[in-house]
């Protein structure tokens, strides 16, 4: 690849999945109770795409990674304490809600605008990365809409593997039905890759990377633009927790043979 890739990763925060979540009526639509107080993590599939981006950038000389995040500035700053130690990137911040209840169209427009104005971004070398869906809205549509707005019509969804072939083509494995992959080859950048799990473990913390990142992260947070992102034209009639909690029958001290018989009867029933 001549001159390397310019990899832009879209990713923000979601509540830590170990937290109990409850909805409430906020000023501008549904929200989470104590949303600002909930511990948050990097949105998992976007996180995988960030690690894949960093790995690719290492392999292809001249590449560079940006992380574009739309979320409450203070919470993004907290997140950076851990993420910034893992992989090298330049941060672009849009200060706004990270709520799942915002409209994907508005989120996509804000992100496309921010990406479009990254100084020095070479769109001919652009690989737009992100998660195949968020853990908040879980719609799986935002990346396509950003791609469209940036004029990117080579797009892949649910990517688990990207290899750059000897002639610089992108060989992509996308998840499809029944645990299979569709294998495609795109002749070159630019392209959109919305990632699933990928193949990499979470990188360990490396304080040196953290120090280098922090030089650009603090100014990025300071100059964050406010993004007017809301629920768009969605009207929410209700947001509820599922009422169903099961009355678990706990079976102790039953011989394995009897349990097996009970399970088989249930399976066949």
């Amino acid at each position: 690849m001549n001159g390397g890739f310019h990899i832009v990763v879209c990713g923000s925060i979601v509540p830590d999945p170990l937290q109990t979540l409850a909805p409430m009526e906020g000023a501008t639509g549904p929200a989470l109770k104590n949303e600002m107080m909930l511990p948050s993590v990097l949105d998992p599939w976007a996180g995988h795409s960030l690690y894949e981006a960093a790995n690719l950038a290492k392999k292809v000389p001249g590449s560079k990674v940006w992380l574009v995040s739309l979320g409450p500035k203070a919470k993004l700053q907290q997140l950076m304490m851990s993420i910034a130690q893992k992989v090298a990137f330049e941060l672009v911040v849009l200060d706004g809600p990270a709520s799942g209840f915002t409209d994907s169209t508005e989120v996509a427009a804000a992100l496309a605008g921010a990406i479009g104005s990254i100084p020095g971004l070479d769109r001919s070398r652009l690989l737009l990365f992100g998660g195949c869906a968020s853990a908040s809205r879980d719609a799986g549509v935002t990346m396509q809409m950003i791609g469209e707005q940036l004029g990117l019509t080579e797009q892949f969804l649910g990517v688990d593997e990207l290899t750059v072939t000897e002639n610089g083509a992108l060989r992509v494995l996308e998840r499809i039905e029944g645990g299979q992959y569709q294998v495609s080859e795109c002749s070159a950048a630019p392209a959109v890759l919305a990632w699933a799990t990928g193949n990499l473990p979470e990188p360990p913390n490396n304080p040196q990377i953290g120090m280098v990142n922090m030089r650009t992260i603090m100014p990025a947070l300071q100059k964050a633009q406010t993004a007017a992102v809301g629920t768009g034209g969605i009207s929410y009639q209700a947001v509820e927790l599922p009422s169903q909690r099961r009355e678990t029958r706990i079976v102790k001290d039953m011989p394995a043979d009897d349990i097996a018989a009970e399970i088989v009867a249930w399976l066949k029933g």
Partner: protein, 342 residues
């Protein structure tokens, strides 16, 4: 007046996927309930006439199609162009589509081109005040919303397993073929083919009656202080084969491969159920050697009857997440289950 367009693609054999017949039922229900609405069927694929004929009797007012060699493969550029052309031709205000990997890759791009809005993973659909009102889950199946929109065109992508698949007699559909502007179809992407996961054992079966979830306990040291990976492998595969069950996994179990620990070779992240995995739909689910923590259990939202086998009476399944928890050794129980299944 709502102009409803149902869109779907054909499969390699020229038929419609089951998910498409389900979404067709959703579209028919909407058009039946919205007074003055019309329903158009829009199909794309290599040759869509047989698929259109198969649903000729569904009651749609018209049938339009985009076909040709370039639409044989599932690829963003050509599929987004096809969907856009179908929606434009139909003058659609509401577009109903199934959740398939092919639709999911391209439909949001088409919505963007048409200045429309899109909602996906729809798990319920009704009509109120003459307009669709949908249900979908947020925060990975933790809370459910009922919502609507006034903007049009509005794309509604319906989840699998929510509506019954449409069935009826085949006929001859009056299919109108559309030509797609070739400028919108150019692509640098070539589809090479389909690849099964690393092993040739097909363990993910979305249509199966039963989901068997294997957790990290299968690869942990057991009461005798030893690992029993080969046993675990044999027991799980035997059960899958005898029951035609689908195999799910906890995150911990499939993560072990990237962390260099002992693994079950037929499992990958594709099997993972939960927060960062899948949310499959099956009538029954049996969890084995899996702790049932919340990030895992959210993936069980659409598993109706749930049982678990775990050595720990205090595991997550005991906390209202399963109907029955057997506090027992899964190795012993599942071996016996397999024997009884014959």
């Amino acid at each position: 007046m709502e102009k409803i367009l149902f869109i779907a693609h054909t499969q390699a054999d020229g038929t419609l996927p089951n998910a498409a017949r389900e979404a067709l039922s959703a579209a028919l229900e909407l058009s039946g309930k919205i007074a003055g609405s019309t329903l158009t069927v829009g199909l794309f694929g290599k040759d869509v006439k047989p698929a259109a004929d198969a649903i000729a009797a569904c009651g749609a007012a018209s049938f339009i199609g985009v076909s040709g060699e370039q639409f044989a493969e599932s690829r963003y550029a050509t599929d987004a162009a096809a969907i856009t052309a179908l929606a434009r031709q139909a003058g659609a205000t509401i577009v109903v589509a199934p959740t398939t990997s092919r639709i999911s890759r391209a439909v949001a791009g088409a919505a963007q081109r048409l200045g429309g809005r899109i909602d996906t993973h729809i798990s319920g659909l009704d009509v109120a005040d003459g307009a669709p009102r949908l249900q979908r889950w947020y925060y990975r199946q933790r809370m459910v919303a009922t919502q609507s929109r006034s903007q049009r065109p509005w794309f509604l992508v319906v989840d699998v397993g929510v509506f019954p698949a449409w069935s009826g007699v085949a006929g001859s559909a009056p299919l109108q073929s559309l030509a797609v502007d070739q400028d919108t179809c150019t692509s640098r992407t070539k589809v090479i083919g389909i690849q099964s996961p690393s092993s040739d054992t097909q363990t993910i079966r979305p249509e199966a009656e039963v989901l068997l979830v294997a957790g990290a306990g299968w690869t942990k040291k057991q009461a005798d202080g030893q690992l029993h990976i080969k046993d675990a492998e044999g027991i799980i595969l035997d059960f899958l084969q005898k029951n035609k069950a689908s195999l799910g996994s906890s995150k911990s179990l499939v993560d072990q491969s990237s962390e260099g620990e002992s693994v079950l070779p037929f499992m990958s992240h594709l099997n993972q159920v939960g927060q960062t995995g899948s949310t499959p739909r099956h009538p029954k689910g049996l969890a084995t050697c899996c702790h049932g923590e919340e990030p895992h259990a959210v993936g069980w939202r659409f598993i109706n009857e749930r049982r678990a086998i775990n050595l720990d009476a205090g595991c997550g399944w005991a906390q209202g997440k399963a109907d029955v928890l057997y506090v027992a050794d899964a190795f012993q129980v599942m071996k016996k289950v397999n024997e009884l299944l014959g």
